[in-house]
Structures are given as C-alpha cells and as structure tokens.
C-alpha cells in the first residue's frame, strides 16, 4: 500500500493501482473513453488527464508541468493528483472539442443517443460550441460489418476499445485499426464479415454509436426502455444480462456484471438469440384436438383431458423435458409424475449416447478456472458449447499464464491459443482418452488399478497416431502437462461421441490418476438443475427407451415440455395415443399432439435456473406472458392439485422452499436467502448418481 493524495484527500492504495480506479473508489469521477476496467489501459483518448505532482522531502509538493493520463498512471508513494482544477477542466474541454471535430453529432438518429459516454461527457465537461467550421470528415454510414454489428465510421472516436476487445478478450483479433490519422478506422480485414462469436460485446463497450446492433437498430431509445435484471437461458452458462423491454416486448439484451459467471460479457447466441420472445408463432391458448384440428380450450378443459389420459397410469405414461424449464418447474414435473401419475418415466437428457454413471466431483466454479496451471479441453467445441467458459479458459491463458491443450475433432477457437492441439479423427475421442491415460500410466506418471491397466494394453503415445490420428509426440507432451493444478475440462457433448461411457471413464480416470481435476459441464440451459433435482428415472425408462416405448405401444401417453424429438423420432410421436406438447413456440411435435399447452418464457415468469457450475440464479418476471400462457411450474402445480388435492403452491418461492426441504443442497437457493449473484449449490456428484427425493 502506498500513501497518496487525491484532490487534497489523503488515502492509501495498492501500489501500481491505476489512478482512475483509485479515484473511482474514492467516489469521484474521471471521465474516460478508451479505458475499460477489464482491458489493458492504453491512454489513447486523453480524456482522463489529471494534474500530478510529488511530495518533496521538505513537505512541499512539486507539480508536474503538464497533465498526465489517469488511466495509465500507477499509484505510487507520495503522489499528488488533482482531478478538478481549472486547468484540467480546460484540458477536458480541449480534448472533447478535438474528438467532436469529426463527430457527426447525429445523436437524434443514433442508437447510442441517451446512453452515450461521449454525449454524457460532453454535457458534463465539454464546450458548448465548436470553433471548427470546416467540412467534417465524411464516411459511409451504417455499414453492415456482420449480420449483428453495424459500423458507422463517422461516429468513431478511435478509442480502440473494440479492437482491444477482440485482441484481449475474445481472442479472434477480427477487428483492427486500418489506415492512419483521421482516416483510421476500426474494421475487419477488407471489411469482410465480422465472424466473432462475441461480436455483440463491442457494441456495448463502444463509447459512441460507431458500432451499433443491427437487430436493435432504431427499435427504441434508452428512455423508452424498461430494463430488468435477467439471466440468459440460451445455454448452460447462465450469463447475467439486462433484459430490456418496451411495451411488453423483448427489445435487447445487454451484459450485466457478475464476476463469478460472465464478468460482463455475453456471447452472440445470448445477446441476439432472444428474438423468439416476439415470434408470431408463440403459443397463446391451450389447444385441444377435436378430430383433425385443434380447438382453443380453457385451461380446465385441457387439464381434464390430460388427467384422463395420465392419472394413475403408472409405467404407461412418460414425460420428457427440454432444457429451458426453471428449477421449480422441473421439480413439480417430477413430483406430478411420481405422485399423481405413479410413473418414474421422466428424463431430461437428449444426448445421443447412454449416460455414464458413477460419482463425479462437484463442478468447478467457472471463475476458479482462472487460477489453474493447465487446462486440457477435451471433446468439446468450447466456444460453441460453453462460450463463457471459453472466455474464462482464455483469460486463464492470457492473464494468469495457464497452458491450455485442446483435444477435439474439428477446428475450434481454443486452438488459437492452445499450446498443443490434439485434433483427433471424429469419433476417436474414446481412443484418444485411452491413449492419454495409457501414456500417463506407462510413463509412470500415474497409477491405476490392474483392471484398468489391462484395458489400456496397446494404448499409448506410439499407437495414438494410428488409433486417433494424433501424433505420438503431441500426446506424450499433453499427458506430461497433466498433474497437480491441472484441469481436464469437457462438456456433455462428449456423450455424443461413439463409446461415450468409455471416453468419459477414461478421461475421468486420466484426471484422477494424474492428480488433475475433472469437470464435465452440461450444455443444456438447466440441465445441471435437472440433475440435481433428480429428473432422471430412478428405475423407470430413460429418454430413448421412452421414445422406443412409444413406438411399440408400451407408453400410452407422453408429455413433452419444450422438447421436440420429431426430427429423429417422429414415428414415436405418431404412434403414441396421447401426446401433450407444452411449449413456448409452435413446432413440428405439435402436429402429433392431443393437447397443446402454451408456456411462459423464462423472462415471463419468476423462477430460478441452475447454470453449468451449479449456480442457482433468480430471474424475476420482466414481461407478461402472451395470451393465456402459463409458467410450467404453475401448470404442473395445478394438475397436481386436481389429481391429489393438497396445499397448493401459490408462488415459485414456495416451490423453492419445498425443493430445499426435499433436496437440502438447494437450501441456500431459497428466495429469502438467495443473493443477487446467485448461490453455488452443487453437491459432490452432479452427473450420473441416482438421485433420491423427488417426493
């Protein structure tokens, strides 16, 4: 800690902390454009100028003759900083006047207008008039850099935030400054498509309207919007987002800071993937089949039909749920089937392979990846399956100096910074895992039981080339890097590969034998929640058995929640005598349904979601569901009540209390206790182990 003085206030700060951060901690403000707390400071915009000086031994202060950039100035002993003097105000005025020379000031039609740092800083610190009467620089407006990002070069103030984002955070370096001087422009190579998976973030960090969202273009102004804190439900990462809506319609998604999950970034899938909220094919009324067509029905009519087909049918009925159902919904779904229908045939798993069993260590928190020494990404297209985990793995590499190896059958983004890429033949993941384990065992790095040792005969670095298509040297080096402080990271995509239990088992053995940690993140939005809530059959049928059962007539009634197996199992859906489809959107499975129930989307209900690391996060209702759509938990609760009169659940908070009673791991997730950033609830085994409870 060092002692310094800011505007006459003496305080202590860690040595080397940037002055703009220290000043922020003090509650004062230094205006910035190019500085971003999550990226390296470059001092490009000169907006953060401060006067500095040093305390002399005799107690006097010797000021520097010229101001310095606060964003590149580290705190040091005896530093004296003045952020609010006459001269600094003049400097800021000058910088802003300079930045505005070529800025078109088309704020009324700019999507950034109203939430624009340039606007705000000009209002607060800028000159009210300009002395520049010459022609402004004119460049093409609204250039579509990609299907998501629109580039307006006239508005650019060349702060470099976007360029640095692609370089430092997303790692694709798709944007760079081309040309020089007044013509300098941030753009892609030859203005080709900006293909980054994280391109949406540059829109948010742009301090002007140079990079704007093509999807949000002209749809609203900031003061038209209402915003609610939300959780992205497009994948299992559970990014925190701001859910912006206007007149009950979803308008845009912005990143919300949560250092445990997404820091403040979002992926394009999440940022631009919420269009379906406003889709015209949203289901709005319960529909009941009469002959060849659907007739709108009331909820009670629909419930009667469903209960007639399902109640007390035992093993003849089954339920399958998709990934986008809240914890409360999943819990009541399981309870509805076990208590009211007497059936254990419920499942949530859609990966093609059979699911391996056996205890698994609790999933590592995403943020803890940063502190690892080495990460082996195995059998998963990380940026596609778990985009935010990908950013963390990259951050571990770029900021903490971790090494990363990647083993996947196709080109992927991790290869760009990986020490070694073990690109195996598609389908050879199991063999590669065995070779790695074999190499570790034969080299004496790891010890395994004799049974496993026997299975590994013939699998080693030398046979890797022939068995998996990865060169022996690479395998040898990759195996050598595992050990204490290393992580073997995979996702449940591994279960799509042939011989998944084998690949999974070998990989886990590899991690255990070498003393590394093993983590298998699920990819379905709430798959982790479903696992924890025991939404797998204890002794009943699993997903594929249920669908097969539908085909051979063993299953007489099937309830699909937000799932559509019609592309692979349309025969099953066609044969099953009674099909309930409950979902948000019309789809193919609906064509076979006897009853269709409209479901409220995540932002249209109160509920909690469990992300891949086992973090339960609450998403409060932001907008009203369309028409008569109801949240899934309410539908299940109402069905349960009709079949077995009991004390009803009035709100999801009560459901969560019940969940916490049945599954004690969820105790910290009760609404009265749940912190804003969510609570990690994972128990020792997240995948595989048969779950108790469920009523």
């Amino acid at each position: 800690m060092v002692k310094l003085t800011i505007n006459g206030i003496e305080l202590e700060a860690p040595q080397g902390e940037l002055i703009v951060e220290t000043v922020k901690r003090l509650g004062l403000e230094i205006p910035v454009f190019c500085y971003h707390p999550r990226m390296k400071a470059v001092g490009m915009c000169r907006m953060c100028l401060v006067e500095t000086g040093f305390k002399q031994p005799d107690g006097s202060v010797r000021m520097m003759p010229k101001p310095q950039a606060g964003c590149t100035l580290p705190a040091s002993e005896g530093l004296v900083v003045v952020t609010d003097s006459e001269a600094i105000h003049r400097d800021r005025k000058g910088v802003l006047e300079f930045l505005l020379i070529n800025h078109p000031l088309d704020c009324p039609i700019c999507d950034r207008g109203g939430e624009c740092p340039l606007q705000n800083n000009t209002m607060a610190y800028g000159p009210s008039t300009t002395r520049f009467i010459e022609m402004k620089r004119h460049l093409p407006k609204a250039f579509p850099l990609s299907q998501y990002v629109t580039l307006d070069l006239e508005r650019c103030i060349q702060c470099g935030r976007c360029v640095r984002f692609t370089e430092e955070i997303s790692g694709d370096s798709d944007l760079a400054f081309r040309f020089r001087g007044a013509e300098m422009q941030p753009s892609t190579f030859q203005l080709t498509d900006f293909e980054s998976r994280f391109s949406g973030n540059v829109i948010e960090i742009c301090p002007v309207g140079a990079l704007t969202s093509a999807k949000y273009r002209f749809r609203a102004r900031p003061w038209d919007l209402e915003t609610s804190p939300g959780v992205c439900t497009e994948c299992s990462n559970g990014c925190n987002v701001w859910f912006d809506h206007r007149a009950g319609k979803q308008v845009r998604i912005n990143g919300r800071a949560n250092d445990g999950v997404n820091e403040e970034w979002t992926c394009d899938k999440g940022k631009f993937g919420h269009d379906w909220y406003n889709s015209t094919s949203r289901l709005t009324k319960p529909l009941v089949r009469r002959g060849d067509q659907f007739v709108p029905a009331s909820w009670s009519e629909a419930y009667e039909e469903i209960l007639a087909a399902f109640a007390d049918k035992g093993g003849k009925v089954a339920g399958l749920t998709g990934p986008r159902v809240s914890n409360e919904g999943l819990f009541l779904f399981k309870r509805l089937f076990s208590e009211a229908f007497g059936s254990d045939n419920v499942d949530h798993r859609w990966r093609s392979g059979p699911v391996p069993t056996g205890p698994v260590p609790r999933p590592l928190p995403i943020a803890s990846l940063e502190s690892k020494r080495h990460i082996l990404v195995f059998g998963t297209h990380l940026a596609e399956d778990l985009p935010i985990v990908h950013l963390r793995v990259r951050k571990a590499w770029s900021q903490s100096g971790a090494t990363v190896d990647v083993a996947y059958s196709a080109a992927n983004e991790v290869e760009r910074f990986a020490k070694a890429s073990l690109r195996c033949r598609p389908g050879a993941e199991a063999a590669l895992a065995k070779c790695l384990l074999g190499e570790a065992v034969w080299s004496g790095k790891a010890t395994v039981s004799d049974a496993v040792r026997a299975e590994l005969a013939g699998f080693n670095a030398d046979s890797a080339e022939e068995k998996s298509g990865v060169s022996g040297a690479t395998v040898r080096a990759a195996a050598a890097r595992l050990g204490e402080g290393a992580v073997v990271l995979t996702s449940d995509r591994l279960l799509d590969a042939p011989e998944p239990p084998s690949a999974w088992k070998s990989l886990k053995a590899l991690a255990e034998a070498t003393g590394s940690e093993f983590v298998c993140y699920p990819t379905g939005t709430n798959a982790a929640g479903a696992e924890l809530l025991g939404l797998v059959p204890d002794h009943g049928l699993s997903t594929w058995q249920i669908l097969e059962g539908c085909k051979d007539g063993k299953i007489e009634a099937l309830w699909l929640v937000e799932a559509d197996p019609s592309s692979t199992h349309d025969a099953a859906l066609e044969t099953v005598p009674f099909l309930v489809y409950q979902g948000t959107l019309e789809n193919e499975a609906m064509a076979y349904a006897s009853v269709v129930l409209p479901m409220a989307a995540p932002a249209e209900q109160d509920g909690t979601w469990t992300n891949c690391e086992g973090r339960v996060q609450r998403f409060r209702q932001a907008i009203a569901p369309p028409g008569e759509a109801k949240p899934a938990w309410r539908v299940f609760a109402e069905c349960l009540l009709r079949a077995r009169p009991s004390t009803p659940f009035f709100n999801p908070g009560e459901v969560m209390e019940e969940i916490a009673r049945v599954h004690p791991v969820f105790a910290p997730a009760q609404y009265s206790l749940l912190p804003e950033e969510g609570a990690l609830v994972a128990r020792e085994s997240l995948v595989g182990e048969p779950a108790g409870g469920g009523g």
């Binding site: 579509p144 370089e167 370096s173 081309r178 020089r180």
Partner: protein
C-alpha cells in the same frame, strides 16, 4: 481508402486459411524462418515479413499478400492489414509501376522547386500524383521529408536517392529507368529484407 467501403451491403467472408494461395518462393520461406529467430514472438516479425511479401508480390501488398503474411505468422488478417496500411512505404492501396518515383515535397525540396519537378513528371508521363502510367512502368508519389535536404529537390527511386534534380536530369533518369527491365520497387523491398536479415546476424 474509401473504395474498399463501396461494397455496400454484401458481406464477403475472410478467406479460409486452407483456400489461401501461398506465393512465397522457397528463398522467401527460408528468409522468413531466419527472421522468425530474430524476435521474441511472431507479432514482432510482421514488418519484415511484409517487406518479403511486398517483394514476392511484385511490389504490391495486395489483400492476398497480407493474408499470406498473416497466415504464415499465425496472426489475424485484420491485425496484419492494420500494420500494413499504417506504414506508407508499403504499397497497399494499388499496384505501383515497375519504377516508383517518390518526390520529396517537404520544406527544403519545396523551396528548391520540388513542385516544378512534380509538374514536369506529371506532364512528361501524362499521369497525376499517385497514379501509374498505362504501360505499368512508372508511378509517381509525393512523400514527406526524405532526410536528404542537402540534395534538394530529391527523388527516391527504389533504394537510391537521386538529387538534386532538374527537369533535364529527370528526363535522363526516366530514359535510364525505362530501359531498366528490373523493378526498382522490388529491389527496394529486397534491400530492406536484406538489411533485416543482416541485423539479425550481427
């Protein structure tokens, strides 16, 4: 610069690494390997590699040349293009002629009649500054100070300074260059590469 922006709403894709047509000669690849050893990382190697590319692509850093450099150094295309378009001695905007005559028009040369030379060149070759003769032999550029004020007005042709020049000596120069079948633009690039290689060995 803005012709690149005129592609309108179409969004062409950046070339796939596999589809690149690599044109570095075996010698160039050898030189590149040697250069790589001079620097702590490949990012630092971009500038000399661009000179190699400028030589290999006939004096012109086309998008293809930039893509090849990026590919060979495992950098992103955009990053290398950003570097190439920043420095004015890389010919990124258009392909220059066989001989690029760069006229210094900074203060000393200006006062010694640089613009007279420019006017003379423009009239003689029938082109404007920044253009190339239709036969592809000459290009003329205006450049900032060449650090040869003692020889003002000075021209740079390839790796040679010519000056002080008068309209008459310019005519002689043009005749001499016209009969020179080798490209002085490529010679310049080659000379720079050689300097880089030598520096590494020293």
């Amino acid at each position: 610069m803005s012709e690149l922006l005129q592609i309108g709403a179409q969004r062409p894709k950046a070339p796939e690494p596999d589809s690149l047509e690599l044109r570095f000669s075996p010698t160039a690849v050898e030189e590149l390997e040697a250069l790589k050893t001079h620097y702590p990382d490949l990012k630092s190697c971009v500038l000399p590699t661009l000179w190699i590319a400028q030589r290999e692509y006939g004096g012109h850093l086309s998008p293809e040349a930039i893509a090849e450099v990026a590919h060979r150094l495992s950098r992103s295309y955009a990053e290398v293009e950003g570097v190439a378009t920043f420095y004015s001695m890389y010919n990124t905007a258009h392909k220059p002629g066989r001989h690029l005559i760069e006229v210094c028009t900074c203060l000393s040369c200006h006062m010694c009649g640089a613009y007279r030379i420019v006017d003379h060149l423009e009239e003689k070759l029938g082109i404007k500054l920044g253009e190339t003769t239709p036969d592809g032999v000459f290009s003329i550029h205006e450049v900032e100070c060449l650090d040869a004020c003692d020889r003002a007005p000075v021209l740079q042709v390839g790796d040679q300074y010519v000056g002080p020049v008068t309209p008459e000596t310019v005519d002689e120069l043009l005749e001499r260059l016209r009969s020179n079948p080798d490209s002085t633009v490529v010679q310049l690039a080659d000379a720079v590469v050689k300097v880089h290689l030598r520096d590494g060995k020293a």
